[in-house]
């Protein structure tokens, strides 16, 4: 059984995981939309750069990506502390995956609606925010939540640069108490609760959104 102090200690790890992931998700979603805009836009150079970025980052393991940013970037003059480096790495990573989701939403969107909005005198920007975005958002919500759960599950990667997240904390407790099972089991439970709660919340939101359209 886990002692109360160990449990409290474990909760600080939960705090780190939740904080870093939340910032990365909040930053990654708009960033992903921006990359998707670049990939579907008219500028050929921007299309190529954004496409290459998404393809590259999606193919690289998060651990390797975190180390590239923390250990590698100082060589070209970009040095970060571990905490900003992990937030940076997670944001850039999830943005690439989000861009793929947004892009699919944009590609599926019927041109007719945009043309109609333009015919009614809406500026392209207004047409995007008023007509296109609300519909894309609704359709993209399930895959976006799926990406959030994937990010949380990959987030222990930040431990390689010294951030003590939930997984790392569980390992520390396992090593100091010489009882690995309770600490790891508690961590598994916490991840399970967080991820299942996320999926349930998304389902609820999805139902509410589709009820509004109906």
């Amino acid at each position: 059984m886990l002692s109360p102090t160990a449990l409290l200690d474990l909760l600080t790890g939960v705090g780190t995981t939740v904080a870093v992931c939340s910032i990365a998700i909040a930053a990654g979603m708009p960033l992903g939309l921006l990359i998707a805009a670049g990939r579907t836009g008219k500028n050929p150079i921007l299309r190529l750069v954004c496409g290459l970025y998404a393809s590259f980052v999606r193919a690289v393991p998060l651990v390797t990506f975190v180390m590239l940013i923390y250990f590698g970037l100082p060589a070209i003059g970009l040095a970060f502390d571990p905490l900003p480096a992990s937030v940076f790495a997670l944001s850039l990573n999830t943005a690439a995956f989000n861009s793929e989701i947004w892009r699919a939403g944009i590609a599926d969107f019927s041109r007719g609606q945009i043309e109609a909005a333009r015919a009614f005198g809406m500026t392209p920007r207004l047409a995007f925010w008023r007509i296109m975005f609300p519909q894309i958002w609704r359709k993209s919500l399930p895959p976006l939540v799926n990406e959030i759960t994937l990010l949380i599950k990959a987030s222990p990667a930040i431990a390689v640069i010294g951030i003590v997240d939930l997984t790392r904390k569980a390992r520390q407790i396992a090593e100091t108490t010489y009882e690995p099972l309770p600490a790891f089991f508690a961590a598994v439970l916490i991840y399970g609760v967080v991820l299942l709660a996320l999926v349930a919340a998304a389902r609820l939101l999805e139902r509410r959104l589709s009820a509004r359209t109906a």
């Binding site: 690289v60 990506f65 222990p156 961590a187 598994v188």
Partner: protein, 222 residues
Amino acid sequence: MNFRLDVLWHEAPQFAAGFGNTVWLCGVSMILSLVLGALFLAPLTSRRPAVRRLAQAVVDAGRCIPFLLLAYIVYFALPAVGIVLNKWSAALTTLVFYNTAYMAEILRGGWVSIPVEQMETARAFGYSGFLLLRRIMLPQVLIAVGPVIGNQLIQLIKDSAFLFIITVPELTFAANYVQSYYFIPFESFLVSTLLYWILCASVELLVQRSERWASLVRRNHG
């Protein structure tokens, strides 16, 4: 900065060995968990709701555990209950255990996408049990979920990078070794990320090829 291409060239065998280990670890565990996932299909599609719900709960729970945490459990916690694995068997166990939950869910998705009438028709023609599974259901399920399996393989390749933390000499381990020995983190991690990119892009290409092949098969037999 000056780019240490000479060191990278000198250490190419390190990277090649790490790359090779990543490939075979992921390949072998993919095949094993495909088989295990197929075995899971029986309870997942069982006619008894209790069995079905229990199997689904196990699969869902398996998909909630982060890969690194699972690797820690296999490598550090299992010895506490008397199961001691070396790093290779710990790596394979983690990969297979982790991936089986996903494979089971993917195969179940493919299974329910096939119309019930198919199975009923096959039964009416005298197919049953293993023959029904092998000749009628599994080929269709595999063709239906092929691309998803490809994506899962890419996911597995990326998750396998975590194994360097339990000192399995795969690609990220090799990159980390080279960077710490020569102090060339940028070059070293750049090479390893490029190698991952090539590997994942090849899997994607293979999936596209096999999709084309599958649609040909479907047309010829349809």
